[in-house]
């Protein structure tokens, strides 16, 4: 079984205690939904990168500390490069985790 490091429990815990919760760092648009086009709104709601490679995503330690956190996981190898607390930005690229994705904004957030 894969072990995932929970940044709140500060230890590696078995994979089945966790639940995947979609792509991370999707900013909610600043504009009111009523002032946005359907296209802009659907972009925020539904469109995701579905990246092949290092992917920033949310995870939930559902059967543990019950906290959501973020992780960068390689979608090809299923290897977790880093996990970090909610509200933190992905750690800067280093020798061990080169080219991490940066936080990004979606349509309507301009």
């Amino acid at each position: 079984m894969m072990l995932i490091h929970c940044p709140y429990c500060e230890e590696k815990r078995p994979e089945i205690e966790f639940a995947y919760a979609g792509e991370a760092h999707i900013h909610r648009p600043v504009k009111d939904a009523d002032d946005m086009t359907d296209e802009e709104w659907s972009h925020f709601m539904f469109l995701r990168d579905n990246k092949r490679g290092d992917h920033a995503e949310r995870w939930w330690h559902a059967n543990g500390c019950n906290m959501f956190f973020n992780a960068v996981r390689n979608t090809v190898t299923d290897k977790f490069l880093v996990t970090y607390k909610m509200g933190e930005l992905p750690p800067k690229a280093s020798a061990s985790n080169a080219k991490l994705p940066a936080a990004k904004k979606t349509g309507g957030a301009k």
């Binding site: 709140y8 500060e10 230890e11 815990r13 205690e17 059967n63 543990g64 500390c65 019950n66 906290m67």
Partner: protein, 184 residues
């Protein structure tokens, strides 16, 4: 199942390798505080709230586990019912917090014997070696399909809190996996 109704434990769950027993009635509270209030709330309530996730404070008649950031489970003997209710009412009045009585949500089992860790590991994926899960450590985790709260009180002694409706499942699972524990 009524809150004070014991569930039957078959004799097959009581041998030299492992013994499962049902604890008596307990009073339980789920407590959540804001980070900034923890120190003051600890002082005014007198509750020994462990600071670190996975930490426990085990005293005669009352165990407190830190399950998540600023989240605690308090499990006490029924004789503390009034006192705890008063403590929680005062916390609720003094702070913006969540202090919920959940006494009847769980049943409590103890799992003892040299095969206790092995028995639990049939359903719980945590590393329960003493190095990784020492005496005094406690956590929310999973027992096959059932969420549980588990803590270690001695090398060969664990306490399990499980939702009442899952208790027969936990018992039956331990009965069904008995053969595995007896293999060296």
């Amino acid at each position: 199942m009524l809150f004070n109704q014991a569930i039957e434990i078959d004799e097959s769950l009581n041998d030299d390798v492992m013994r499962l027993s049902l604890s008596g009635e307990r009073v339980r509270y789920s407590l959540r505080l804001k980070p900034a209030d923890v120190a003051a709330a600890k002082k005014s309530s007198g509750l020994k709230l462990p600071a670190k996730i996975g930490g426990t404070s085990i005293a005669a008649g009352q165990t407190i586990l830190c399950l998540g950031p600023q989240e605690w489970l308090i499990v006490a003997l029924p004789k503390s019912r009034e006192k705890l209710a008063g403590t929680m009412a005062k916390l609720s009045a003094d702070y913006i917090c969540s202090a919920v009585e959940v006494s009847h949500r769980n049943l409590q089992f103890t799992v003892t014997g040299p095969g206790a860790a092995r028995a639990l590991n049939a359903a719980c994926p945590l590393d329960l070696s003493v190095d990784a899960f020492p005496v005094g450590k406690g956590t929310r985790t999973i027992f096959e399909g059932a969420p549980i709260v588990l803590w270690r009180t001695a090398e060969h002694e664990f306490t399990v809190e499980v939702w009442r409706s899952f208790a027969p499942y936990l018992r039956d699972f331990l009965a069904k996996t008995a053969k595995d524990r007896h293999m060296a």
